[in-house]
Symmetry: C2
Subunit: 302 residues, 2 copies
């Protein structure tokens, strides 16, 4: 759609890029595409232009603010991490990406790093910033489930520390490429199997290595349905993540930022542990974070 | 090589088939090939014939004894599991595979199953039988590391119980297909990183979910070498397996049956826990198991 935005917000992950055209009255248009990170600046510029071409005016340069893996070592341009503890006024760490097209002025948000235990994030810091823009006094824990789930401690408008679990990636690999693929449904839910597996992983986390294979065995021996198998695999992996992250959520206020279905699974698992979690959409929070940044760049309060 | 065996032993796993031609004086010839399980009986027959064609005489039928995934649901013919506790006189459970070629008389060894906790094995039972043929009074634990590592309790010439961990498959998926692939060397050893990771996984098994991603983060932030990353990944996964299998090995006599390099890694990890393990080759044990079976079929003591 032909629109002339004031600026463009881009949330660019490892496999997907989302762009939003913004004007004085908010969102003018949205576009998104599957893409990959890691084939050089020209590749990234072509991918971006194909997405936002309709929003560019001749001889005018538009500001584009991007977060996510586009700033990784193999991204468009490497943006140095900001070490935690870090306030989320990342306007200072922005890096301008080299571009051939004079109509784009792309600046990429820095991710966060933690020295010990070693950890990194790119993109989630912007979602957290978006949440904090609406909840400036928040003190607690933010869970961002996904391919690489993040748990962050936030206090006094700073990210104090965080950890990552590869839960989403493990689920994808195990359910589509391991021996478990023969018996795990491609979609669907099995709440009871999920709940049981979460509890099992939390109470006996040291058994994960054998519990995973038992999904295959129970399919072969006891005719466990593919939907049940999917629920159990999801529950074991989320339960293992909760076991690793217990110091984050135990007795804490937790906010979950992510996609609807996966956030609901985490909220359900936490609820069984007596933790009530509020769920917010990841794309909304990323946009809110970039908008907050845009406002800071203008010297206007968010 | 043209030979005329008395019989043929076949060890047929998910991705590889090994055949041995045997006569009165033992091994006459060996052949092996990469193959896949699961494309129907004709596919399996063609794969076998291409391997043993040189060993077949016209108008003579030769006995072929096979173990492994060739007897799985998607194998040549499904061979029902034998439930544990099971003595390893599996001559009774053999299933003849349908074949077009009249020169082959193929019989497949049944695997073992365990009802609760649900578990299955195909192929390892023959390796255990081969070991027991040489150690009839063995009482202890046998570890068979691999794609799907098995731990079996053996007493009075029976497999009493067993469990499986997907350690080898997880290592392959994580090191070649996950985000960790960017920083994990395709080969090489890093004994110190391995030892440290084994200890870490054993002492804090609930942290596995975060410890895995830290491999990536420490590569990005602290320049951890790909060899160190490989050692740490291997150590974390083997350590997680040992954590799950602790009731098997703690204070027990352990025998490891498998490929040389991976067996050595398990022996090293166990040694750090004060457990001395003897290592034997998996292919030798499979052949010994099939030879024991062949002797039983003839009514001759092994």
């Amino acid at each position: 759609m032909k629109v002339f935005p004031d600026w463009i917000a881009v949330d660019w992950g490892s496999t997907h890029v989302r762009a939003v055209a913004l004007g004085d009255d908010g969102v003018l248009a949205r576009a998104d595409a599957a893409t990959t990170i890691g084939q050089g600046a020209d590749h990234h510029e072509a991918a971006l232009l194909s997405l936002v071409e309709d929003w560019l005016a001749p001889r005018e340069r538009v500001l584009i603010l991007a977060c996510g893996m586009v700033g990784a070592r193999h991204g468009w341009v490497e943006v140095p991490y900001r070490p935690v503890p870090a306030a989320l006024d990342f306007a200072t760490g922005l890096v301008r990406a080299p571009a051939r097209d004079p109509r784009i002025d792309l600046r990429i948000v820095p991710g966060l790093s933690q020295d010990k235990p070693g950890d990194v994030m790119r993109g989630e810091e912007t979602q957290i910033a978006g949440f904090l823009a609406g909840h400036p006094d928040f003190d607690g824990v933010i869970c961002l489930p996904g391919t690489h789930s993040k748990w962050a401690r936030v206090s006094a408008a700073e990210v104090v520390g965080f950890r990552t679990a590869m839960t989403g990636e493990l689920f994808a690999l195990l359910s589509t490429q391991s021996v478990l693929r023969h018996g795990v449904a491609p979609e669907g839910e099995a709440p009871e199997a999920f709940d049981e597996a979460v509890a099992q992983a939390l109470s006996r986390p040291e058994r994960l290595a054998t519990d995973l294979f038992a999904i295959r065995a129970d399919g072969l021996l006891h005719g466990m349905s593919p939907a049940t198998a999917r629920g159990r695999l999801s529950g074991l992996l989320i339960g293992a993540e909760l076991a690793a992250m217990r110091p984050f959520w135990l007795g804490q206020r937790v906010v979950i930022i992510g996609a609807g279905q996966v956030s609901a699974a985490y909220a359900r698992a936490l609820a069984a542990q007596g933790v009530t979690a509020e769920c917010l959409r990841g794309d909304d929070m990323a946009l809110a974070g970039l908008a907050m940044l845009r406002a800071r760049m203008r010297g206007v309060a968010p």
